[in-house]
């Protein structure tokens, strides 16, 4: 045995010992997740549902993610890109989180992305899916457990076209997801666009838009107004008497439990689309809906379902890498494989880390218990991928 081989053997042994030590240390240390979400202002309902859905998955897993104790650090981005970016910086640098999740709004997401990706922290989106990250700026550290921004709107566009509406007025907030929304809608709806309005993201009084609708006289109105914006719009739309003359369409965002709770019966009959519904017939979903209602005393929204799935995806990644989160390549591979039971049924990742999944048509009706809620009517788009994957050159 030469001196050299002895040296190498010692080196190897030391390396193995160090690895074993770190592995042991890792299994005791908690998995840290930065839950950066919108918890104040008109979008607070969305962030709270994501947070609660995520927390439910962790709780049902005995406080663990993938066998390791979970530590979820919750922070409020106040729906502000500036605050979001600063807080993300703190979470990845000071708190050294292993995963980031939770951002609701795409403008915040685009600001949070840079510091997160630079520090090689995996981001699992439980909502925002900006087209930038699906196409040319796609990133190995970004995974969407929700959808690409255009997708739900594409499904409504198809529905509106299938139902034979000819003149549609479009309204969305002026921010990245609003632009994605109307682009997505128009990709599948080929009829006349009677008007296209972008409102301010903090706007709550829609008097001006409603009087324009009255003057334009479209036969259908498509709104993408998340959270409090949609609540106000729908109340004012009904209050102005426009619901008699035009049919209101929206993505699931503008017609989910958060909005229904605030608006109530005036929403009956509104069509909307979603990648998830509380009455989807699969075991994972049944468990999720029952447990969510038991834990929080309200029906889950699609945001809650996305939060829950994000936690399940992280859970699977930690489990499949046996908790070795420093091995970035292995974590990435485990995330890409997405071996978890999604509450939405079929789910797999495309090459740009955005899901390929089904989109459903829902209508707001009264259920057996007399509650106003969504009922699934059928599948609009099956195994649907986003339109940007082609322009993503994912670095290997």
């Amino acid at each position: 045995m030469t001196k050299q081989t002895t040296f190498f053997k010692t080196l190897l042994a030391t390396a193995a010992a160090v690895t074993a030590l770190t592995a042991a240390a890792q299994s005791n240390e908690p998995v840290k997740v930065g839950m950066l979400s919108t918890l104040s202002g008109p979008g607070a309902g969305l962030g709270i549902d994501i947070r609660d859905g995520f927390a439910l998955a962790v709780k049902l897993g005995g406080g663990k993610l993938g066998g390791r104790t979970a530590e979820v650090i919750v922070a409020d981005d106040q729906a502000s890109p500036d605050v979001g970016r600063q807080t993300a910086d703190r979470l990845v640098k000071r708190d050294k989180v292993d995963f980031m999740t939770g951002v609701v709004f795409s403008n915040v997401m685009l600001a949070v992305g840079a510091p997160t990706f630079q520090s090689k922290t995996f981001y699992v989106s439980a909502n925002a899916g900006p087209s930038q990250y699906a196409g040319e700026q796609c990133n190995p550290y970004f995974f969407s457990a929700s959808w690409q921004n255009d997708n739900l709107h594409e499904a409504v566009g198809k529905t509106v076209a299938d139902k034979g509406f000819k003149r549609v007025a479009l309204i969305a907030p002026n921010y990245p997801a609003g632009k994605d929304a109307l682009t997505g809608f128009k990709r599948f709806y080929k009829g006349e666009v009677a008007s296209e309005t972008y409102t301010q993201l903090n706007q709550l009084d829609y008097g001006a838009e409603l009087s324009q609708l009255r003057a334009t006289k479209p036969d259908a109105v498509y709104i993408f107004l998340p959270g409090g914006l949609g609540i106000n719009f729908i109340k004012q739309f009904v209050g102005a008497g426009l619901s008699k003359d035009m049919t209101l369409f929206g993505p699931g965002f503008s017609a989910d439990e958060d909005v229904i709770k605030a608006v109530g019966e005036p929403m009956l009959g509104m069509f909307n689309t979603s990648q998830w519904a509380h009455d989807l017939d699969n075991a994972a979903n049944k468990k999720f809906v029952a447990e969510f209602e038991k834990e929080y005393g309200r029906l889950p929204s699609l945001y809650a379902a996305q939060g829950y799935d994000a936690a399940k995806l992280i859970d699977a990644a930690v489990r499949d890498t046996k908790g070795k989160l420093d091995d970035k390549a292995a974590v990435r591979k485990a995330l890409e494989a997405a071996k978890f039971d999604s509450v939405r049924g079929a789910f797999k990742f495309n090459t740009n880390h955005f899901p390929i999944q089904d989109y459903y048509l829902r209508v707001i009706t009264k259920n057996g218990k007399g509650q106003v809620t969504n009922r699934t009517l059928g599948t609009v788009l099956k195994g649907h991928a986003d339109a940007y994957a082609g322009s993503c050159k994912m670095p290997s």
Partner: protein
């Protein structure tokens, strides 16, 4: 351009203007009589709205909420005056701005502590939730009509109070020459507290009325406070008549700007650019209006100081 669109925008402008008036009326009296800049005025609006939303939810009646909330906000306003603001009258404007800004921050945090950071929802009473047909083919939300009605009634009552009562005479005297009014035996201390209470009550009316249209949330007073300051500068500090006219001007110009500018820009530069530029141009319009008024009448349209 169609007539109904313009009519509806005028009504929207009137409604917004009258709500601004309720805020500006209290602000202008405090500023005019006590020479006091009160940045916490918007907080009274917020506190009023929160009280109304909470009491409405607890009692199940919008009317109970509105009534008790207004009383609650008036009491809160008077307490604020008696405990803190009173000490700021003799200070210069910088101290007043700093002091009342601190109160504003504390109110925001206090509200966040008590009610949380999620907005509260406040629904209009069921009888006013629907539309009213004003003419064939034109229905207008009953609730907005109700706001217009309330705004006009309050403006009328204030007019009677200020112009035809003894208290009103003292208030006007205080606004035009404080020293002289004091020398003539006006009990300025009590008067100030009362004016503050009335101002707070008006804020609460505005907050409670706007609650169902907007959202009851932390910081709701700040954005509207700036407009209220613009209104009293245009109208003339200390003048109720000026506040009413200024508020209506600002309301109509703001609403028209928000609707008509994007409408024209839409055709020229496309919807996205139009929505970027529209609100910006609309708010610039208000400041241009203010600059124009100040250029020709530096003391505002209806100056009170001699």
């Amino acid at each position: 351009m169609n007539g109904i669109l313009i009519l509806e925008q005028m009504l929207n402008g009137l409604q917004f203007g009258l709500m601004l008036f309720l805020l500006a009326a209290g602000l202008t009296l405090v500023f005019g009589i006590m020479d006091m800049i009160n940045l916490a005025h918007g907080s009274l609006y917020m506190v009023g709205a929160y009280l109304i939303a909470t009491i409405s939810a607890a009692t199940g009646s919008f009317w109970w909420g509105l009534g008790l909330g207004i009383v609650g906000a008036a009491v809160f306003g008077m307490l604020l005056e008696l405990t803190i603001l009173r000490r700021l009258y003799q200070r210069d404007h910088v101290s007043q701005v700093l002091g009342t800004f601190a109160i504003l921050l504390m109110c925001n945090e206090g509200v966040r502590l008590i009610w949380g950071s999620q907005p509260l929802s406040l629904n209009p009473p069921a009888s006013l939730a629907g539309p009213v047909e004003l003419m064939a083919g034109f229905s207008y939300p009953a609730y907005r009509l109700f706001i217009i009605g309330v705004g006009l009634v309050v403006a009328g009552l204030l007019y009677v109070l200020i112009v035809h009562t003894r208290v009103g005479m003292q208030v006007r005297a205080g606004a035009s020459n404080r020293e002289m009014a004091m020398a003539m035996g006006t009990n300025v201390r009590t008067l100030f507290t009362a004016v503050f209470g009335v101002g707070a009550a008006l804020c609460a009316v505005a907050g409670g009325m706007m609650g169902p249209l907007l959202a009851v949330q932390v910081g709701m007073g700040e954005s509207i406070l700036i407009l209220a300051f613009v209104v009293i500068v245009i109208g003339g500090i200390g003048s109720i008549r000026g506040a009413l006219l200024g508020a209506l001007l600002v309301g109509v110009v703001d609403t028209a700007g928000r609707t008509l500018i994007p409408l024209f820009l839409n055709a020229a530069v496309g919807p996205q650019a139009a929505s970027n530029a529209g609100p910006a141009l609309a708010s610039i319009l208000i400041y241009i209006l203010m600059a124009g008024v100040l250029f020709f009448k530096p003391r505002g349209l209806f100056p009170t100081h001699g």
